[in-house]
Amino acid sequence: MKLLFERSTVGHKSELLPCCSTPAYELPADLLRAEAPALPQLAEIEVERHYTELAKQTFGVNDGFYPLGSCTMKYNPSINEDMAALPGFTKLHPLQPESTVQGALEAMYTATELLQEITGMDAMTLQPSAGAHGEYTGLLLIRAYHQSRGDTARTKIIVPDSAHGTNPASAVMAGFSVVNIPSDEKGCVDLDGLRKAVGPDTAGLMLTNPNTVGIFDPNILEITKIVHEAGGLCYYDGANLNAVMGMARPGDMGFDCIHLNLHKTFSTPHGGGGPGSGPVGCKAHLAQFLPTPVVVKTEEGYHLHAPEASLGRMRSLYGNFLVVIRALTYVLSLGKEGIPAASQGAVLNANYLMKKLADLGYDMAYPGFCMHEFVMDIGKLKKETGASAMEIAKRLLDYGMHPPTMYFPLIVHEALMVEPTETESKETLDAAAEVYGKILAEAKEDGQRLHDAPFNTPIGRPDEVGAARQPILRWTPAE
């Protein structure tokens, strides 16, 4: 495909603005750039065709099955987009007087009320812009809590070895050091290991439940109790909330604060990598530390309010507002029956597909029932046939299907992590299983052949080593 710059022709342009109606003002030349930026020069039809071509080489949920583990690639309802495009929302200046944005504040307030109820939390901020940003916010809440009590020796955050990489990275950003604890043979928290890890230096524990191998930790109440008794707080990573929403609440599991991924659990589109939204909820004892501002409701209406001991600001303004509008639309659509039904559907779909794939001969890292996702272990297959998790994934591309998450969690070496979500039909799962069966047969017949997969995609496997050794990060005109 040509780059925008390679399609450029001098003089091509769109007529978008009228002539300037005020006298032309000139700044002194030393404040101006020497030459115009080398942006492409294109007519509107050329821009449109360019991006249409790029769209055709982009695979989204709307293109096919996308069971990317831990990413909850559920269908993104069309009504969400319509609501987020309402001019009454899109054309609001963020610094308008409060009296002129009551509808926007109502939407934010309503969203926090609903999400607090679903998660069992008492207060919430919508400011964090993504999951990792939410983690950072939640950890700063924990930090502010301990500091407010003069408990400054609490410098360590405990993270299981199965956690997302963002967990330890966020902990370090928040000024903590990280204590990694191993998982037990079922992928759950090892209670003895946790008891040994906690102490007077424990600031908190970060956990996702169900965990990254798709298992609900049966000891969750004991886990949060151990941490609380040691004086620490418990942080819930909401990455896997789609397994339990409406069924069980992090607040009832003993967690003090949480983040949600509206772009996973609450159906807002991923947009090729963002924007997401990572609201952070907390129990009452942390509410005074929330970032500035939060929305409050009084008799006179809705207001933006700075919590008394606020940890500060996580970003400018109020968060990814239009993403919140989409999530609000979704929660209102599903309601009290639909929310748990979605989790039930997600868990049923995952178990159904897991069983089918196990019956075909794929090894499961943790056999038995799973929650919303499961992890296959390709290790034995690789030994027998030479076909690795990567090869299976790449071959799936040829069948018009997005592969599962590869090589995560790190505790399973040849991991393929599958999360079908509730919005896929039985027919889609059956068809997917058929493809997985074919690929397994291919691997057993000639594992080496899969090293060259995919065969039918627009490009073959890219040279990632070359890309990293000699980085080319921008287009430059040919000399």
Binding site: P18, A34, Q57, H133, T166, R249, G272, P275, V347, D463
Partner: protein, 438 residues
């Protein structure tokens, strides 16, 4: 209501049977029973029609101003029709981060093109694929400048106050000292900066045009930073770079900013776009996703996520940032905007902002009590005095459908863009005259 679940009850029953189960509840037996929710206290689900009505009613409660003279970090620009048309394409909208390059060349290439255009605008060598917003981009830039023996960030007091607060949040938790440089006549004074700088300061961060709309002496500020071996970080408005001298030209090490002016709606504050560009020497310190060009097995050009070993999913607690997602769809929006405007269109738009703002400033300043507060070159924002309570003034403007400037420090921070033509400005001035005469 339906939860967008396609399976019928019969299909779900068949699936359960294949698992040897009779009820889906059995799959939740692993959850301690005392923890199971028996009553979720939220409203019953609604039909699409009802939800649409409810959200539309909320949207209708907001006041949409037909005329906007307010900026201060969020700008009312014209958004070409094609921008929404392209970014609404469901392939872009519903894709995840492009981990599987073979089926993601479209989104990868769009990010590569975005990175290129950010470099072209800023005059820098390299760009990342974007971060959450301008304020977090500024904070991440400060973190990029941390060296073993250099930590303190010296930040211009004429930087957008939200940006300062976010920098303080990001630096506070890591123990990075932040020094705010006092503002003199609305500007960052290079001599005062030189006097304040210490030999082990990590970076100087300033905004151009600054929060008050004024153009800083970027050459001198950059030079002062470099004189003590500190990095210079410029916070810039990408729209103004259609004509203004680039951070690359005055020698900045990092250029960051809020990309919202590039085709992204004001939308009550988000989602926006934090862009980050740097010199080649600082390439590996950039946080977040970066797309690079390579070849596939057949030698075809291909694009991939690259330099990934910098990132949290590999480095974990040793990563310099936990940022995971970028703002890909907003980066795409900016790219489509820039491709549609082209170099001439962007320069024209920037010049219209400049000319409209200067016309507005000269007309408003003629009104008694509305004198210009600062005497320095400005771009499309400026501060005037206000003879009456600024809130009261804005209420009077609001009655006429005008969102007035933002009250700051007893005065008013006005903004004019290409959307504010001569008629709008003349009308504003008439109303201000009436108010001043009362």
């Amino acid at each position: 209501m339906g939860g967008y679940i396609p399976n019928s009850a019969a299909a779900q029953q068949a699936m359960l049977e294949s698992l040897g189960l009779t009820s889906v509840q059995q799959l939740f037996d692993c959850i301690p029973s005392e923890m199971l929710v028996d009553h979720l206290n939220i409203p019953e689900g609604m039909s699409e029609l009802e939800v649409g009505e409810m959200l539309t009613a909320m949207a209708d409660k907001n006041k949409r101003f037909s005329t906007v003279f307010r900026g201060a970090g969020a700008y009312n620009h014209y958004i070409p029709s094609i921008v929404k048309a392209v970014t609404s394409k469901k392939e872009f909208l519903t894709a995840y981060t492009p981990y599987q390059a073979e089926i993601s060349q479209g989104v990868l290439q769009s990010i590569f093109e975005y990175q290129t255009m950010i470099c072209q605008l800023t005059g820098m060598d390299v760009s990342n694929a974007s971060v959450y917003d301008g304020a977090t981009a500024a904070a991440e830039a400060v973190v990029m400048c941390q060296e073993r023996k250099r930590s303190c960030a010296v930040v211009s007091g004429a930087l957008n106050p939200h940006f300062i607060e976010v920098i303080q949040t990001y630096c506070g938790s890591r123990g990075i000292p932040v020094e705010i440089l006092p503002v003199q006549n609305g500007l960052t004074d290079p001599a005062a900066l030189s006097a304040a700088l210490k030999a082990d300061d990590a970076c100087v961060l300033f905004q151009n045009p600054n929060y008050y709309g004024l153009l800083e002496n970027c050459d001198a500020l950059t030079e002062a930073a470099h004189a003590v071996g500190a990095k210079a970080v410029a916070v810039v408005n990408p729209m103004t770079l259609g004509i203004l001298k680039t951070p690359g030209a005055y020698g900045a090490d990092i250029a960051v900013g809020e990309g919202q002016p590039l085709g992204i709606p004001m939308a009550f504050g988000g989602p926006y776009l934090g862009f980050m560009a740097a010199t080649q020497a600082m390439m590996r310190k950039l946080p977040g996703r970066i797309v690079g060009q390579t070849t596939d097995a057949k030698g075809n050009r291909a694009f991939v996520l690259t330099l990934q070993a910098r990132e949290q999913h590999i480095r974990r607690e040793k990563a310099s940032s936990s940022v995971c997602s970028n703002q890909a769809l907003c980066a795409l929006t900016a790219a489509v905007y820039l491709a549609s405007m082209g170099p001439d269109g962007l320069a024209d738009c920037a010049k219209q902002c400049l000319s409209n703002a200067h016309y507005a400033a000269s007309e408003i300043a003629k009104i008694p009590g509305f004198g210009l507060r600062h005497n320095a070159p400005f771009f499309h924002e400026f501060v005037t005095e206000c003879p009456i309570c600024p809130q009261l003034l804005n209420e009077k403007l609001a009655e006429k459908g005008i969102l007035g400037g933002l009250p700051v420090e007893g005065g008013i921070l006005w903004c004019a863009t290409e959307m504010n033509n001569k008629n709008q400005i003349d009308r504003l001035v008439e109303i201000l005259k009436e108010v001043a005469a009362q």
